[in-house]
């Protein structure tokens, strides 16, 4: 009996080649943990909704790491002989994962949009995913988690308590939702990272 993939299923081989089911499961796990952590932090008597900062910073960072490393191709040399154009696949791949991630992580931090709620989470997903995409294009997918992790960690430790000012730019992941400058940086990072990845693809890696 033939077990050949049906005609319509051939594109699903691309989905599996990039381990997208594993990435989706990882994102779902991150979202569940983020929802639990945000809820737990809010319920502590000595915290309030502003205590969700760790969740709003760390969950997008972890999710972007999963997205970035999932861009690795085990067969880059053969992929480069493809007749079909890669840029539409890369674009759909990145946009779909970004949309899913923003959606599920936003659901983890309901309420208080003026502080560390849905807007801040969506902004951080965009910024972190943009940095991961750019990193995949420049240093390779398997190390794409590193720059955002180093940057996010440094910002988490060094950002001033009061939002705004210059910190709205360099410490954009730590800003409350409505902060315009932080949004500008995150959206720019996403657009630049996505453009780099879509045009160049992930940097080839050995092994």
């Amino acid at each position: 009996m033939s077990t050949h993939p049906a005609h319509a299923a051939l594109p699903l081989l691309y989905v599996r080649s990039r381990a997208l089911p594993l990435t989706a499961a990882t994102l779902a796990g991150i979202a569940l943990v983020a929802a639990w952590a945000a809820d737990w932090l809010q319920d502590q008597p000595y915290f309030d909704h502003t205590a969700r900062v760790p969740v709003v910073v760390l969950a997008p960072l972890l999710a972007s790491s999963a997205i970035g490393t999932g861009l690795h191709s085990h067969s880059d040399e053969l992929d480069r002989t493809a007749v079909r154009r890669w840029w539409p696949l890369r674009l759909v791949h990145l946009l779909a994962l970004t949309a899913v991630t923003a959606g599920v992580l936003a659901a983890a931090v309901p309420g208080h949009p003026e502080e560390f709620g849905v807007p801040a989470m969506v902004r951080n997903v965009l910024g972190a995913t943009g940095v991961a995409a750019a990193s995949a294009a420049l240093i390779g997918a398997r190390l794409s988690w590193l720059p955002m992790t180093v940057y996010g960690g440094a910002v988490y430790l060094a950002a001033p308590r009061d939002p705004g000012g210059a910190a709205a730019v360099w410490a954009w992941p730590m800003q409350p939702g409505p902060q315009g400058a932080a949004w500008a940086v995150a959206v720019t990072a996403y657009a630049a990272g996505a453009a780099l990845l879509v045009v160049r693809g992930a940097r080839p890696e050995r092994g």
Binding site: S2, T3, H4, H74, S75, E77, R80, T81, A82
Partner: protein, 267 residues
């Protein structure tokens, strides 16, 4: 040697490839027509750089590359490269595979990349997998196969689209002697209608399968001839200290390399 100009499927003029400060290929001119052609040379000679340019995965630094009637050198557009890739098969020196894929799925994936007619893919995949002797392992995961079998999967994906130009980089690496013999028979058969270029450091592969040989040394063409002429260059092996050990074609290879190096040194 490689046919007339009219039937050349590969025409390379002044091809130059540079990697940072290293010149991998230096103004190389080459023509290939249907048949099996061997690329020989020491490690680092530029064989893989040449194969990668011909496979359209690397852009040359300079020169003109025309494959199957389309220009694919620096500055060529996607349409030209796509036209060639549809008729191109390529086995890289190191090809990765997706851990969860079966043989059938991996070869199907490459067929999908080549934009083959989806309705024709199942039969094409089964045909090429049978041709490399893996019909009974077609639904086994690639990661469960031995190194030699994985290499044969690589050959299967390279011929799934019935290519007019087949590029094989160290194709017999990891194959046992029996598999090597079978593989040489396969490429001799393919070479009747296809231009097959085999890059290898195994002189015996060239002797057994190729009609002609191009020797590359330090990014330049050191020697081109038929395989028979290279073998004759090796002489009878009784030439005393000047004749290295080995079979005639190995001696011919060494003699050609030495002659080229002496010529370069005298310039």
């Amino acid at each position: 040697m490689s046919g007339t100009e009219a039937v050349n499927t590969v025409e390379v003029r002044a091809l130059t490839v540079r990697h940072r400060r290293t010149t991998a290929l230096d103004a190389v001119d080459l023509d290939f027509a249907p048949g099996v052609h061997g690329l020989l040379g020491p490690n680092g000679a530029g064989k893989t750089s040449l194969i990668r340019v011909l496979a359209t995965v690397a852009a040359p630094s300079g020169g003109r590359v025309e494959l199957l009637g389309s220009e694919v050198g620096a500055g060529s557009d996607h349409r030209s490269r796509a036209a060639v890739r549809r008729r191109l098969g390529y086995l890289p020196q190191e090809f990765g595979y997706y851990p969860g894929f079966t043989v059938r799925e991996f070869v199907s994936y490459v067929a999908w990349l080549k934009e083959m007619d989806a309705a024709a893919v199942p039969a094409a995949v089964e045909r090429v997998v049978a041709r490399v002797g893996l019909a009974d392992r077609i639904d086994a995961r690639v990661k469960t196969l031995s190194g030699g079998m994985v290499r044969r999967v690589g050959i299967a994906q390279a011929i799934v689209n019935s290519p007019d130009l087949l590029l094989l980089d160290e194709p017999t690496a990891g194959l046992d002697p029996e598999q090597r013999v079978e593989f040489r028979a396969l490429i001799r058969e393919l070479g009747r209608s296809t231009t097959v270029i085999v890059s290898t450091h195994l002189v015996e592969d060239v002797a057994a399968a190729c009609t002609d040989v191009t020797l590359i040394e330090a990014g330049r063409i050191a020697y081109r001839s038929t395989t028979r002429e290279l073998t004759e260059l090796g002489g009878t092996g009784d030439g005393g200290a000047e004749q290295p050990d080995g079979n005639p074609i190995e001696r011919g290879y060494t003699a050609a390399l030495r002659a080229h190096r002496a010529g370069v040194a005298n310039r």
